[in-house]
């Protein structure tokens, strides 16, 4: 069955993987609300046509996040798919991670997902089920030095997804996470150090970095009716860099 006509929310959708995914879902005929703290999300959504709309939200702000999520779901008259894609990355040695930096990472990368799931699941329960896909990372399973707060936040996403799968399973809501390897976004291609790109590329037996569309394709698959028996999983899209 087709995704056409169904409603989706994608967070962190002003650029990169989130924007690529939103475009892909619109191409499949879905009605998509793009959330981002960057006001540019409005124009980016407009560029995707009449099925998309953008909303500005600061996912650190609990009240604002709840209000925007609830208004969005009401406006879309229910929800089939929630993609918690928004996240931040920062590299700091463990001995130098300030508690406020730790908290900030967890607020965006984990707590915001909890708030959106709490807002979205009731309407999926009231409807015919749904799909929740949370963006984790290969860092949840491997990780590199300087990523303690980031890797911990992404491991939390994997665990959160598993428990959500438990709690919402009887309502035919599947909850999965995606663990991308190194992804080269358009922005990253212009700004990354070539030596770093070469190091990242070497981690994949396929000899290339992921494109945003590689990740978007995985999310689209997990969002489909046909993937309705996959739940609680974390799917690596890592070019073979991580195999568990």
């Amino acid at each position: 069955m087709s995704l056409a006509g169904r409603a989706a929310i994608v967070t962190g959708a002003a650029r990169g993987i989130g924007l690529t995914l939103a475009r892909r879902l619109v191409d499949r005929g879905m009605r998509v609300t793009l959330l981002d703290r960057d006001p540019a999300v409005q124009a980016r959504a407009e560029s995707l046509g009449s099925l998309a709309r953008g909303r500005v939200v600061d996912l650190r702000d609990i009240d604002e996040t709840r209000a925007v999520a609830e208004a969005t779901i009401e406006e879309m008259d229910g929800l089939w798919l929630l993609v918690n894609n928004a996240g931040v990355f920062e590299k700091t040695p463990l001995l130098e991670i300030d508690p406020s930096a730790w908290d900030s990472m967890m607020e965006i990368n984990v707590r915001s997902m909890v708030l959106l799931i709490q807002a979205a699941a009731p309407s999926m329960i009231a409807g015919d089920g749904g799909r929740i896909v949370n963006q984790a990372s290969m860092a949840a399973k491997l990780g590199t030095p300087g990523e303690a707060h980031y890797a911990a936040s992404k491991a939390a996403v994997v665990a959160l997804s598993r428990i959500a799968a438990h709690e919402f399973g009887p309502h035919q809501i599947t909850v999965n996470s995606v663990c991308p390897g190194y992804v080269l976004t358009e922005m990253g291609a212009d700004t990354r150090d070539p030596r770093q790109i070469a190091e990242w590329t070497a981690t994949s037996p396929l000899g290339r970095l992921a494109t945003p569309d590689d990740i978007a394709a995985a999310v689209e698959f997990l969002a489909s009716d046909e993937a309705g028996y996959i739940t609680g999983e974390s799917l690596n899209v890592s070019g073979g860099a991580c195999t568990w």
Binding site: A165, L206, F221, I230
Partner: protein
Amino acid sequence: MQLDGKTALVTGGAKRVGRVISLTLAEAGANVVINYNNSAEEAEATAAEVEAFGVGALPVAADVGDPVAVEAMVDAAITRFGGIDVLVNNASTFHADPFPTTDLTVWNQAISTLVNGPFNCTNLVAPSMLERGGGAIVSVSDLSAFEAWPGYIGHAVGKSAILAMTRQFALELAPTVRANAVVFGPALRPHDYDDDRYQRTADKTLLDRWGTPEEMAHAVKYLIEADYVTGEYLVIDGGQRFGHRKAEAG
């Protein structure tokens, strides 16, 4: 990889979930080589269903545990279709195997089909993929790769080996060929399941239901198409492997 115009070899592709995998790949536009061991009649019927999608079908008998037979099958497939782009290692046995035992028949059969089978097929198909400059392999495991099943030692060891082979295939055939595994949960009711046992199995999953062969087949199709996924296993079990404490959820 897009399946349209490609050629796929599905071992054990004549019946049960293997048949649905054959049909799913055919629907996506691939010619299908339908391997079978004993199920000639089912293979002919599945071939007719495959051809109804307007693609080629070639039923070929071969015990996947026998490298000579596999080589003949691969040669026949290449002669007919010019090469092989996709291999689905699906053929499986499923026999109880008390342990300890003095009879090695079941153990040897399981190791032959589940360990030597995917090894032989991949070993003999990979050169065609490397020559064509691309390929995708998907091998079928199940939850016995993660948990002990009473009375199924050969099966569990074989299905575990499939995950190890998948990682090796992925690394050794990269970057030209990708290799992944699917780990199936309950998909088709075994003949000896009464209603009570059928329901108990459903109750173990997080979704309170059995899966369908179509859901299993679509996961295979996704992994064939997913160009940056390799060395990975994808579990399609309704969350059953996480449901071991479900009864306590209240």
